[in-house]
């Protein structure tokens, strides 16, 4: 992981960092957070996500384990990713939401900020993380990242160099797109 994108445009993140809940200070150690409250938090995030009705993004906990979610995002209209559907995996740490979840593409995605293993370079998933973000905002951010990549510090240089030629890029996306059954 040579280059990490620290300069992500803020337009992708609808929630600002100021929104950190002031009532709860991040605890000194991850161990002290009882999983019960994490559980609760994830539970309510799920409910919010289900009731929000955003189109093109979805996620749901895998069987038996609310710390592992499967996500789905579809490429937005009028982008080269239109009509594609990508599976994601979200894995929440025990001290969530004080630490961000690990998010990976499960479907191969030809994108400047996604490497061949599906790792995503997105600031809010690294140093810009805030406990005010939730699954929904993460998914929305990734969805908009698809259409508006940061080509200045790419994980996939081939994709970054091809980005300017949208027609060719679209062909490449279609060629590499392998939807899950």
């Amino acid at each position: 992981m040579a280059a990490i994108n620290h300069h992500h445009q803020d337009t992708n993140t609808p929630v600002t960092a100021n929104a950190i809940s002031s009532s709860k200070q991040p605890p000194p150690s991850a161990k002290s957070v009882d999983t019960q409250s994490v559980h609760k938090r994830l539970q309510s995030e799920l409910m919010a996500l289900m009731m929000s009705g955003d189109s093109g993004i979805s996620a749901f906990p895998e069987e038996e384990n609310i710390f592992c979610w499967k996500g789905t995002i579809t490429g937005s209209k009028d982008t080269v990713f239109e009509g594609t559907e990508y599976k994601l995996s979200l894995s929440f740490p025990n001290d969530y939401p004080f630490k961000p979840p690990k998010v990976k593409f499960e479907t191969a995605c030809f994108h400047p900020n996604v490497d061949l293993h599906g790792n995503i370079c997105l600031d809010i998933l690294q140093d810009k993380w805030s406990s005010a973000y939730d699954v929904r905002t993460i998914l929305l951010s990734i969805q908009s990242l698809l259409g508006e990549p940061n080509t200045s510090s790419p994980l996939n240089t081939q994709a970054a160099s091809l980005w300017n030629n949208q027609e060719e890029y679209r062909k490449m996306v279609e060629k590499l797109y392998k939807p899950t059954a």
Binding site: Q43, L46, M50, M51, S58, F60, E63, T72
Partner: protein, 792 residues
Amino acid sequence: MVVDATSSVCDLGALDSLNGDALKEIVESWNGFCFATDALLKGNGDCSHGSKFVSQAHALCKHGLESLVQEHFIGYLEETFEKNGASKFWRHFDAYRNVAALGMNMDPIQKDRVQQVLCKALEEISFEKQYQEKCLFVLIDALQSYKDSTSDKRQNSDTERLYLISKYQSMVSSVLMASLPPHFPGKSKVQMPETKAKVHDLAGDDYRSSVLESIKEWIQAVPLQFLHALLAYLGDSISYDTHSSGLKSPLASRYAGIDNPSEGLVRWKLRLEYFAYETLQDLRIAKLFEIIVDYPDSSPAIEDLKQCLEYTGQHSKLVDSFISALKYRLLTAGASTNDILHQYVSTIKALRTIDPAGVFLEAVGEPIREYLKGRKDTIKCIVTMLTDGTGGNSSGPGNTGDSLLEELNRDEESQENTGVEDDINTDDKQAWINAERWEPDPVEADPLKGSRNQRKVDILGMIVCIIGSKDQLVNEYRVMLAEKLLNKSDYDIDAEIRTLELLKIHFGESSMQRCEIMLNDLIDSKRTNTNIKATINQPSQSGAGNNEFSLDILSSTIISTNFWPPIQDEAFNIPKPVDQLLTDYAKRFNEIKTPRKLLWKKNLGAVKLELEFEDRSLQFTVTPVHASIIMQFQDQASWTSKNLSAAIGLPVDVLNRRISFWISKGILSESSGADSNDHTFTLVEGTVDTSKAGANTGGCEELLVGDDDGERSVASVEDQLHKEMTVYEKFITGMLTNFGSMALDRIHNTLKMFCVADPRYDKSLQQLQSFLSGLVSEEKLEIRDGMYILKK
């Protein structure tokens, strides 16, 4: 064979003493004897072979082969009799078996002919028999003379003779019976069709009386008499048959008469009875559906069937036939849920008589339950049956009399009874009683269907079992109770309290708790109402005493919202004076019950009102909305729908729907104005429609408050369910988006695990399945190989 028979009779020492010559002699005599027997029996009355036969018999007896001689002879007689006598005898009736099968309506000539044939047949067979008997006597005489020549054991030979005769007798009757079936295939045996026709005739289609007894009597009186005559005829033809009374073989008693039936006759009787039972059973089973339809009246028929089945043991026939009748006649789209339920209850009651262990009921009830589970109004109908017994639609047939309320009562009584003898060692006592009463399961019981304890026939249990859980039933009852209570104006809830108490016994105090609170609300309301009325004469602090209406006309139902089902809210403007009255009432309530305040649900309740016209006055009981509408016409005789909707605060379409009530009563008339959307409603003064007015004048017209367009004060259980299910739908869409396809079980488990916030997922697998199939029919989902996937 010969050696065997010999050794069994003679002592072995005698065998040793046989030398070659003796053996030769025996073989020769034996062959001669066999030949002579053959010749004698085929001799057609000619006894010329007699002397040879006698000498051969003597020769064999000399060697101690007496019993062998007897055996052989009797065996030979049997063979011959079967060949010549019995088959010929039955063949005479071949021509008549069809006639008999068609029923008993033979004309006298035919009957006569049958009689003649019978006589002829009897004559023939007795001739045969007589001849055989003659032959038998030849043998007996031969044996006798041999014995006479060797010793003088006179007394013994008499027994011997009788023994032979009785053996022959029993042989004859058994051959007659045994040779019957091949000649008369199936049920058309000579007596059987007659019996069958008689059974049909007696049984008919009247299930109100028991026919089994009369059938038995008939069997005794008619066919058995015939058989008696037949057998007696054969038997009596032996001349000295009568004076042998002293020595009776246990196998062959005399055909002395019906009072002292012979073995053959007893066998015939059993046979006939079995046949009659079977016929009646088949007849009743075929009509079981109808019988159960008129159940309480048709219980004699059920009782008959029970006895028949005990006799024949063909319970599985009943189950199969009844299930197919059910599927064909009851479980169809055309049958109303109420009728199905009533039939179900009757079935339970009827089969409980036949089979107290409930084994067959289990098999029969299954298809009905499965079918009912698929109907939407099942729960509602059940609750209605439980609570008022008249069923949902009182017009339906057979609704009275089999209410489940009665069942509740019955169970309560039995519980009370056990309560009386309740003492310290109830458990021991009960255990002992149970042990005493234990009976093994019928053989037909399906061992997979749980143990006997779980199969106790409990109508309520079986009904609840249709619904799936008692919670659902209780919930539906709560909605129904709420509806009822809200429409009461007199606080009279005795019947409801009684029902609730009964339900509490069955479903437990805790599950009925909310219903109890609802009833308590009513009781409290009554008290509060009286208290408030008592303050009428004291001017309220607000001074709002100068109303058009007095507080006397108002009574309130104060409910604890949390415990009631969700209540439908509909905002509209109540006429000023009434509103003022409500406010005043609420103030007084607040004064009495500080700090509690009344929040009116203005759309609920009932209004009794009287409309006074110049020439008539009409009384109605209507909903507050209807009352508000008509009150607007008090000051202004004509309204446009737009203005009226503004005045009342209802959307125009709702108003139009509501106002149609008054139009249909001939109180208002509707005319479309210039604007097609803006109608004008005018008060009809005077008697326009004489017939309608005539019917109404002076009459106090009561009107059901919740009218036909499904207006209810309480959100129905389905509505609540639907609301919850839309939340689940989003979850289901969410999980299917991410997991692709999922089986029902997994969806169910996932919902259970993750849908825990309000509303918590608490549905049964079955409810989920029906919900999912709803989504499939809405084309939101697809189902492929049992897996649900999102439809794209």
